[in-house]
Symmetry: C2
Subunit: 332 residues, 2 copies
């Protein structure tokens, strides 16, 4: 195989985040699970939007945020996801490209479904409660894949959220096969504990198929996946099934287990936590960029922690500061 | 005339702001006048957008920001402006209504022109350079006016920016006539010094027609309007031609002249100036709300200064903090 042209190719839901402040009473009265993501249809999206406060629209999507982070860290990043031919689709496309990410998935044609959006309610504790209308994103088809692009990336990175709708799940399965045939690495994030609840069997089957090289999870997702009640037991259980396991623990930092060896790093300091949206996505960006650069696990984890700390210091899940400079300053 | 149902009815360009960070080199290489607003067509909007960094979309528009500010300050606000039946139009409509502003202008029909947007480049010195594609906003027609709504507002407030395209200028002229017939007050902002350069004769004729009760200007706009080189001379010259003149002076505070009596107030303290977009709009909101509440000039000016200080402390020109509480805390 030739040297890879891209460091990381991310596949995920192409969505624009609509971010609004909300108080705990609103979350309660809407019977939402604070901190989680749920899927909603267009009707519910319209109803909830009408009740929300004024929003700011910032391009998002878990794997899209990761791709943006990789590019900001100096890595060569690509993104695959489906938008429609509408204003939100234009905004998504502009933003990800302007961050230096290769994004060439053709715009949806032949179907009149708007681009996806995530209504994100940010409570005063900086937690985000996400209500996702997938729209066009759920129509990412196998035919939209550029197989050469998949073969050209050192690491293929997939978001668990994409497991929800069937069409992109099939595209994701196909991309995994292409990457493995090309001897590339495959990384996967469990995305959200409720997502794991919905797809526990599918995720476990994917892991046990031996087709993943790197698995990302936070504590809640890991517990849900393994059905363990003790954190260390859950880490040990999952780590035995995948070459590299990476677990994020919010203010308790993060860890990775590779070949039975566990490495822990602390969280990076943050002056003020404004909006935790994107913390996991940017952690993955930092870790994957470090890994693609051949850095040791501990350094890759710290790159993840630095990128995550930046993105939670402001609204929106895309980095705003110069991540590459931040890493150079702190890691050398 | 019955008691007014609204305190302030604002007429202006209904636009969504697309805000991106930019460095001074970008402003220079694009030959833009830092700190000013220019009108661009769809082609230039597309070209510039492609070169800009990732953006955040936040509803804006000068008079729209003022209406949002009046509502946040506890006043009864309305807004009149034209959006198209598209996603940016939906975003604008949602945001202004969710701030408690009455917005009932029918969506544009029969013409395929998208909703307006302003590409705002924010430099590290927090200055904004605005590139406005008016789109549907320039098609605000006399027929879109709800005459009863105009009669029902204690103060009609108009933005000078709307003087640029002919169609809304005619609507604005008609609204002034309706308001005056109903014995309401008419307020006008000069909007931007380049806007004054474009329409100096028209603005002077409007002022000298005796149909304005309150005129808002910043220093540059006032100098451009009066063609004076000395600030105090410019204030005296303009003040003699309008019942109330309000002049904002950035970090030097603001002043008003009514019946020959000049009142100065200092600027409110701001921890960090992030984005000056909307400072003048929110100043007007504070002053107009105070004036509608029957407060003395000095207090109305301070309400303006408090609202302006809030909006420059974050990205976007719509207030985010509880302005009513801020005013209660500082003015009692």
């Amino acid at each position: 195989m030739p040297d890879p042209r891209l460091d990381v190719l991310c596949i995920g839901n192409a969505v624009v985040d609509v971010i609004a402040a909300a108080d705990d009473d609103f979350i309660l009265s809407e019977r939402l699970d604070k901190g989680s993501m749920r899927l909603i249809d267009e009707e519910e999206a319209t109803r909830l939007y009408a009740k929300m406060g004024p929003g700011r629209e910032i391009s998002g999507g878990s794997a899209g945020n990761t791709a943006a982070g990789v590019a900001m860290l100096g890595g060569r990043a690509g993104f695959v996801g489906q938008v429609a031919a509408d204003q939100l689709g234009e905004v998504f496309t502009h933003d990800i490209r302007s961050m230096g990410v290769e994004f060439t998935t053709p715009v949806l044609s032949g179907v009149s479904i708007p681009s996806g959006r995530v209504l994100i309610l940010v409570t005063p504790d900086a937690q985000r409660t996400m209500n996702t209308f997938l729209g066009a994103a759920q129509l990412l088809d196998i035919k939209a894949l550029d197989e050469a692009q998949v073969r050209d990336a050192a690491i293929l990175y997939l978001e668990g959220y994409l497991w929800d709708p069937e069409t992109p799940r099939a595209a994701m399965e196909r991309a995994i096969d292409i990457a493995r045939e090309a001897k590339r690495k495959v990384a996967f994030t469990l995305s959200d504990s409720f997502c794991v609840d919905r797809h526990r069997d599918g995720f476990n089957a994917l892991i046990d198929s031996g087709r993943l090289d790197i698995l990302f999870a936070n504590e809640a997702e890991l517990m849900s996946l393994t059905d363990e009640t003790d954190f260390d037991a859950a880490v040990a259980s999952a780590a035995a099934r995948v070459p590299i396991l990476v677990v994020t623990r919010s203010e308790q930092g993060a860890l990775a287990v590779e070949g039975g060896k566990r490495t822990d790093v602390p969280a990076e300091p943050v002056a003020q936590i404004v909006d935790t949206t994107g913390a996991g996505d940017l952690f993955a960006a930092g870790f994957l960029t470090g890994h693609a650069q051949g850095r040791p696990i501990a350094q890759s984890l710290r790159m993840g922690a630095i990128a995550a700390a930046e993105v939670i210091s402001h609204y929106g899940a895309r980095p705003e500061a110069d991540l590459k400079a931040l890493v150079a300053e702190r890691l050398g």
